[in-house]
């Protein structure tokens, strides 16, 4: 599983990364968490507000820090 976290690297983006990492270890799934901080790459994914979480190429949330419960649901 590939999880991309889009964000230029501000506090909200770091928080998102923490939440996703916590959800991944809580679920015990194998996943590569990649940070995307290039705006052009984000635009290609269709992401125009940050932070955003993309799982296996599917955009799951944009413009907010998700809750851990939500992320765990996406990982199912």
């Amino acid at each position: 599983m590939v999880i991309q976290i889009c964000g230029p690297g501000c506090a909200a983006c770091d928080k998102t990364k923490e939440v996703v990492a916590a959800a991944v270890s809580a679920k015990g799934v194998g996943a590569a968490i990649i940070k995307v901080n290039d705006f052009q790459e984000m635009a290609k994914l269709g992401v125009f507000s940050t932070p955003a979480v993309v799982i296996n190429g599917v955009v799951k949330c944009v413009g907010r820090v998700p809750k851990q419960v939500e992320v765990e649901e996406w990982l199912d």
Binding site: P8, C13, L45, G46, S49, V62, G63, D76
Partner: protein
């Protein structure tokens, strides 16, 4: 006998797994309960707020026995009165704005502005800039999203100017420390600058000064994810905003008030009049130029503004300084450089800076 369900088994049994996603009825507070708790909270808040002034004079002049009218006494009283007052106001407004913002998302704003033409678009964009959640690090994706959705460049700029310039924290602090007239002036002129500067940039037809890859975006599509929010979700967003913003800015507020208190008590009454008063014509542009590289959050700057005004600095000069500090910031320009050519950033700074200078002179001449 009941067989043990293996984890992740998707059979009909509901008992081994926590029930399906968010049973809204149980999670959502009823609107009635929310109103009751809200009213009680607001009542308590007002009661505390009303007692701050008597408490501060009691504390400084009776409890500590300081002389009324002495520099130290005034400074202490100012600090003891202003700190809890500002923190109370801040908490309330950040909460309310946090809840309000749950009704606006960048996606919705973008969709709304996409169909708008200039002029009307500039007005809408500036207004939406106030209520749409925004932080300067998300300025670039937001800009890209607007361009891609076909929002005109000038309208996009109206939004980008209004979003940081009209800051709810600054607004509430101005209201709390200087009264509603100055708060209204700040709100009105901030909107005016955002609308006018965006309109001017639109008229200049500078689309060519966006980075090349940005202009090619229009073909792509953006992803919109709408969520259904309950009132509980919205209140949670308000609470999160309080924890986030108040937790981060309280130290600046206290530092700002401490500086304000020192100036209040110790700096002579007309000290600032010479360098920031109406007579010094150069003070408005100087205040704007000094303010551009400075980056302070609104919470920290307003108590300083209050102290400056109290010591004879002219209102226009101080407002210009404040707007320049919060609306034009170096970090935002550096991040915008990724999508805009330097010429466009220069135009942006020049147009907004000139707008702020005009406002400064206007106030200095009429008040």
């Amino acid at each position: 006998m009941e067989p043990i369900q293996p984890a992740g088994d998707n059979s009909g049994c509901n008992c081994t797994k926590p029930a399906a996603p968010h049973p809204v009825a149980q999670r959502g507070l009823s609107l009635f309960n929310i109103c009751i708790v809200g009213t009680l909270g607001l009542g308590l808040w007002s009661a505390v707020y009303a007692h701050l002034l008597p408490f501060s004079t009691y504390f400084a002049y009776s409890l500590l026995g300081l002389q009324q009218g002495s520099p130290l006494g005034d400074a202490v009283q100012f600090f003891v009165y202003d700190t809890p007052k500002v923190m109370l106001l801040l908490t309330l407004i950040v909460f309310v704005v946090g809840v309000l913002r749950s009704f606006f998302t960048q996606e919705r704003t973008r969709k709304y502005l996409a169909g708008k033409r200039e002029s009307a678009g500039n007005v809408m964009a500036a207004l939406l800039g106030i209520v749409t959640p925004f932080c300067s690090c998300s300025a670039v994706p937001l800009f890209l999203g607007f361009v891609q959705a076909g929002v005109p460049l000038g309208v996009t700029f109206s939004f980008l100017i209004a979003a940081p310039m009209i800051n709810e924290i600054a607004l509430v602090l101005l209201y709390g420390l200087l009264g509603w007239k100055i708060a209204a002036l700040y709100l009105g002129t901030g909107l005016l600058i955002a609308m006018a500067a965006g309109w001017v940039i639109g008229r200049l037809k500078l689309e060519g000064w966006m980075e090349d890859w940005v202009r090619e975006l229009r073909a792509g599509e953006s992803i919109v994810l709408e969520r259904q929010l309950t009132w509980t979700d919205r209140l949670e967003q308000g609470r999160d905003a309080v924890r986030d913003i108040v937790g981060k800015v309280w130290i600046y507020v206290i530092a700002g008030i401490a500086v304000g208190a020192a100036i209040h008590g110790y700096v002579p009454q007309d000290f600032m009049a010479a360098i920031m008063g109406k007579q010094a014509w150069w003070s408005v542009p100087a205040a704007v130029v000094v303010g551009i590289p400075m980056y302070s959050n609104a919470a920290g700057i307003v108590p300083v503004v209050e102290a400056l005004l109290g010591k004879g600095a002219a209102l226009g000069t101080v407002l210009a300084f404040m707007m320049s500090v919060i609306a034009l910031s170096l970090p935002e320009m550096i991040i915008l450089r990724k999508v805009l050519k330097p010429q466009l950033i220069a135009v942006f700074v020049f147009v907004v800076g000139s707008g702020i200078v005009c406002i400064g002179y206007l106030f200095n001449s009429i008040i």
